[in-house]
Symmetry: C2
Subunit: 223 residues, 2 copies
């Protein structure tokens, strides 16, 4: 009986030494974030969210990979050249899918099929800016609320007539689909996903401490 009590006390003491958050971190595999790329993709549409996921939780929570039609170099809008990590057919299963905007006509039907397939097994699929039009092509906006760059709001209403297109919001969280307004709003959408998955403290740390980014007030009032 004495030995049993000693054992229980030892276990309880040991548990005090382990920070539950650390314990969770050390046993958890990073979540895979797959970022769609294509010729003419808007640089900050993908680099903003990518940065958020890369630095969150000191780089421990997410693994960011880039996915395109092939692994040949692509030119982003404005000319910066990026080599995608994976072709569609080779891409790993994604926990988070990021669909940026830009020259969306360069995304083939194979690309739209990849979005659909990746979305089936993702926790969250997010579009940034005009990337919402690619989600519309993938028929992922039917029956939900969504947003896009202010210049695309009326066009999106035509492209996705069964979607409730919302204006004046940095992002719209419709559960498995998160859509954002233009360019820099992708940062807010990604921080919101970090908040959903890792908690507000982690999202605030990523924004305030690492990225020195003050989230606009309208990111606080989610619908």
């Amino acid at each position: 009986m004495y030995r049993k009590l000693t054992f229980i006390l030892a276990v309880v003491f040991a548990l005090q030494l382990v920070d539950p958050a650390d314990a969770q971190q050390s046993t958890k595999k990073p979540l895979t974030v797959a970022v769609l790329l294509f010729n003419g993709v808007e640089l900050l549409d993908f680099a903003g969210p990518a940065e958020v996921f890369i630095v969150s939780d000191h780089g421990n929570a997410f693994q960011v990979v880039t996915v395109a039609s092939t692994t040949k170099p692509i030119k982003t809008m404005g000319g910066v050249t990026v080599i995608p990590d994976y072709a569609y057919s080779e891409a790993p299963k994604a926990d988070i899918v990021v669909v940026p905007g830009g020259a969306m006509s360069n995304v083939s039907d194979e690309g739209v099929s990849w979005i659909k397939k990746a979305h089936k097994t993702s926790k969250v699929t997010m579009s940034v800016c005009m990337g919402a039009f690619l989600l519309a092509r993938a028929e992922l906006l039917d029956g939900i609320s969504a947003t896009t760059h202010r210049w695309g709001l009326s066009g999106l209403r035509s492209s996705a007539p069964n979607c409730k297109v919302v204006r004046s919001r940095r992002f719209v969280d419709s559960g498995k689909i998160v859509t954002t307004a233009g360019v820099t709003a992708g940062i807010d959408g990604a921080l919101h996903i970090v908040e959903r998955l890792l908690g507000k403290e982690q999202a605030d740390w990523t924004a305030n401490e690492w990225m020195e980014y003050k989230r606009p007030d309208d990111t606080k009032d989610d619908n």
Copy 2:
């Protein structure tokens, strides 16, 4: 005499038809923005300012190029692979030099020499985040005010003892040198340079219309 007057009136009338801003744009070559890259460069440190310059004036005002030790692919912090456009020795003369932060120890003395050389003929040289430490290595901060990521402020005071290191500012404009606070503050620094070179209207359009970015209040009060 009558013909001379008619000619003068015709010229005056013709001048009214030409928007001075358009005239300037149509005859001016885009300014070259050279962005330093290196293995471990922080993605948003360079992608934020690059985006600003790429989209300003509908993409007509600036040509963004990337420069590194070689044109072999480099891995940015977090893994996105970028192919630099030019090696140091081949880089074109830059009107604006952008020096981001990240794994700065990967920048060799040759890289620091390129910064010095490029700065000699630039209109503006800007650092983003910890990139200020590279400007310190290039001895470009002596006798001026500068800032960096909040985590680097005291370190920069040691690295650049003759620099007045300023805290709580998105950017510091010291004339030919502009330094910014962490990561997203690079966007504010670049917008400030657009404002200096193209005017407030262009900078506001780039921020508010294209990038859907609300500049924090402390970017309005420059020193």
